[in-house]
């Protein structure tokens, strides 16, 4: 409209009184200020039902257009494992070094996928949901946590498939299977923490989402998803092996293998593996949460 160009100067604002003083007198609070860490945790707890409902909704919506529907929840990880089996087990012959190679591989792939997709979802948790962030009030950490929870639910489907595979390949049911639960809890905490870190980075710099697949792929190949770090690094110095084995992804994968596969003995585990698993979970979980909270009021700026 052309008349927009000839608008007269605006009428002076009604700032007769000092507005800040007026606000203070009536006890008004600054809109959109960051809550204290304690309040923030409280708000997050109050929204726990939203977090779980959002995660479940995302999971269900994922395959709702497919003819086979929720069957894909199990099919996708199985197909993934089949591809890796073909390449690493059959073509490259990695399986000759490892007893129970199929259970070994499938466990590795599933546990790795859990971390990988949590982090990938985390990078877009804020930047991909700006509409939600700009429309509603909720502690923003609900988003990365919700995405990590969605991946956990996805993993539980995969674990059901995994149990069937384990039984088919003659791995006996053992008491050590119970150890899978604390291992998953620790891994989830770790994933959620890293998701929050990359969510903040991705909110500021969306380019992270382009870069992340390469970082993750490198990480996957050094984490012993398809091979045993133990068997392949016999020639390397001891320190290299320990470092490789203590990287969080390898720790969580090895823990799960130890819990589920009887031929994967404790001596294949790195030293102090539970301490490492807990340490990584605490470091990422607490550190990531605080790091994310520090920028709470800035999420949503276009």
């Amino acid at each position: 409209m052309s008349q927009v160009l000839h608008t007269p100067p605006p009428t002076p604002a009604p700032a007769a009184e000092d507005l800040a003083a007026l606000a203070a007198r009536h006890g008004l609070s600054v809109s959109g200020a960051r809550p204290s860490l304690r309040e923030y945790v409280g708000q997050l707890w109050a929204r726990r039902h939203f977090i779980s409902a959002f995660a479940t909704a995302k999971l269900t919506a994922q395959y709702s257009q497919a003819k086979l529907g929720q069957v894909w929840q199990v099919m996708t990880p199985l197909l993934n494992a089949a591809v890796y089996y073909f390449i690493f087990g059959v073509l490259l012959g990695t399986k000759h070094n490892v007893p129970d190679y199929v259970p070994f591989l499938v466990t590795g792939v599933f546990i790795w996928t859990f971390t990988q997709s949590s982090i990938m979802a985390g990078t877009r948790a804020i930047s991909g949901n700006l509409g939600l962030v700009r429309a509603l009030h909720f502690p923003r950490a609900a988003l990365p946590i919700s995405f990590a929870l969605q991946q956990l639910q996805q993993l539980l489907f995969s674990m059901a498939a995994l149990v069937v595979i384990l039984l088919c390949f003659g791995v006996p049911v053992a008491a050590s299977w119970v150890l899978a639960i604390p291992a998953l809890v620790l891994q989830f905490t770790f994933n959620a923490g890293v998701s929050m870190v990359v969510a903040r980075l991705g909110a500021k710099t969306p380019d992270i989402a382009q870069l992340m697949p390469f970082v993750l792929r490198t990480w996957m190949y050094v984490s012993g998803v398809m091979w045993s770090i133990d068997k392949l690094t016999t020639k390397e110095p001891h320190i290299v092996r320990v470092l490789l084995e203590l990287n969080p992804a390898a720790v969580y994968i090895d823990l799960m293998r130890f819990a589920l596969i009887d031929s994967f003995h404790a001596d294949s585990l790195p030293p102090h593996v539970w301490a490492a698993a807990t340490g990584w979970a605490l470091l990422a979980g607490v550190g990531g949460f605080i790091y994310f909270w520090k920028a709470e009021e800035t999420y949503g700026r276009g």
Binding site: M1, P14, L19, L22, L28, V30, A53, L132, A135
Partner: protein, 293 residues
């Protein structure tokens, strides 16, 4: 509002010299080239403009005080910063400078972003309610009201179908019904009245009035001059991010309509075309300006 108490009015929202700036990446010359990107990374602040980050100054130095019991309309042509200002009042968009003080938590009437079109209407009612901060029990309690209000089930059992199968009108009605199910302290409504058929619009307006009685202050953004007149006593007129006028509805609306060429500022003279051309204000077609978007 007419009912001014002899004692001092209680402010609920105070905007103090508020500026809001959007930054948009990847505009400007040479946006795609590697050198431009490198430049952007190396010299973040200095080269913001040169490297293709454009700033859009959406709201400029706006100050106002809103009091308890007021219903305030926000008007202005498209892109004048109305919705942006509302989002800042709701605390959803950070301000560049200045402050917005509020009493309690203002909430925007809008849950659209939380809903998922692949899920059934029923699950979306729960999801939307939870996203707005309602508890599961509250939603369960109001579930039937929400569905009845939306009128989704008038033509059969549609609430159990995925939302992507709804017509745009049906989806809009369900969204409004979910959003309006919660009571708010300071309520911000952005173009909510323009959805649905006539009977639904009437129901919506009634619900808005009801919400106003519970809410301390209501802000309404609309391009529908009639609904502004029906609902608000005070109007803020934003143009190009600046607050042009702030006053009683009739006074501001008259100026605004003169500005948009909706109605003649003075009583209409029976003039031939030649005379109209001399009048300083150009006239776009009247309907264009008053259409609710």
């Amino acid at each position: 509002m007419a009912e001014q108490t002899p004692t001092e009015k209680i402010p609920t929202v105070i905007a103090d010299d508020v500026d809001i700036v959007y930054r948009v990446n990847g505009t400007g010359a040479g946006r795609g080239t590697a050198t431009a990107a490198l430049n952007r990374i190396l010299r973040r602040k200095q080269a913001e403009k040169a490297a293709g980050v454009r700033k859009v100054h959406a709201v400029k130095k706006v100050s106002f005080v809103a009091y308890k019991g007021e219903a305030i309309g926000l008007i202005g042509t498209n892109g004048s910063g109305k919705s942006t200002l509302l989002k800042a009042v709701a605390g959803l968009l950070p301000v560049e400078s200045g402050h917005i003080h509020t009493d309690g938590q203002p909430s925007l009437l809008g849950v659209n972003a939380a809903l998922m079109s692949d899920l059934t209407g029923e699950r979306n009612v729960y999801l939307g309610g939870l996203a707005m901060g309602m508890s599961r029990e509250q939603i369960k309690e109001r579930y039937q009201d929400i569905v009845d209000f939306s009128g989704i089930n008038e033509k059969g059992d549609f609430i159990t179908l995925p939302m992507r199968t709804y017509s745009s009108g049906m989806a809009a009605r369900l969204r409004f019904s979910i959003a309006a199910a919660k009571d708010h302290d300071v309520l911000l409504i952005d173009e909510a009245l323009a959805t649905g058929d006539r009977s639904f619009q009437k129901r919506s307006e009634a619900r808005i009035r009801e919400l106003r009685q519970h809410a301390g202050t209501v802000f309404l953004v609309s391009h529908n001059n009639k609904s502004i007149r029906d609902t608000c006593e005070r109007v803020l007129w934003l143009e190009r991010g600046e607050l042009r006028m702030d006053g009683p509805t009739e006074e501001v609306m008259k100026e605004y309509e003169a500005f948009t060429g909706d109605k003649k500022p003075a009583p209409k003279k029976p003039a031939p075309k030649a005379v109209v051309a001399k009048v300083n204000t150009p006239q776009p077609s009247g309907a264009e300006a008053s259409l609710p978007s």
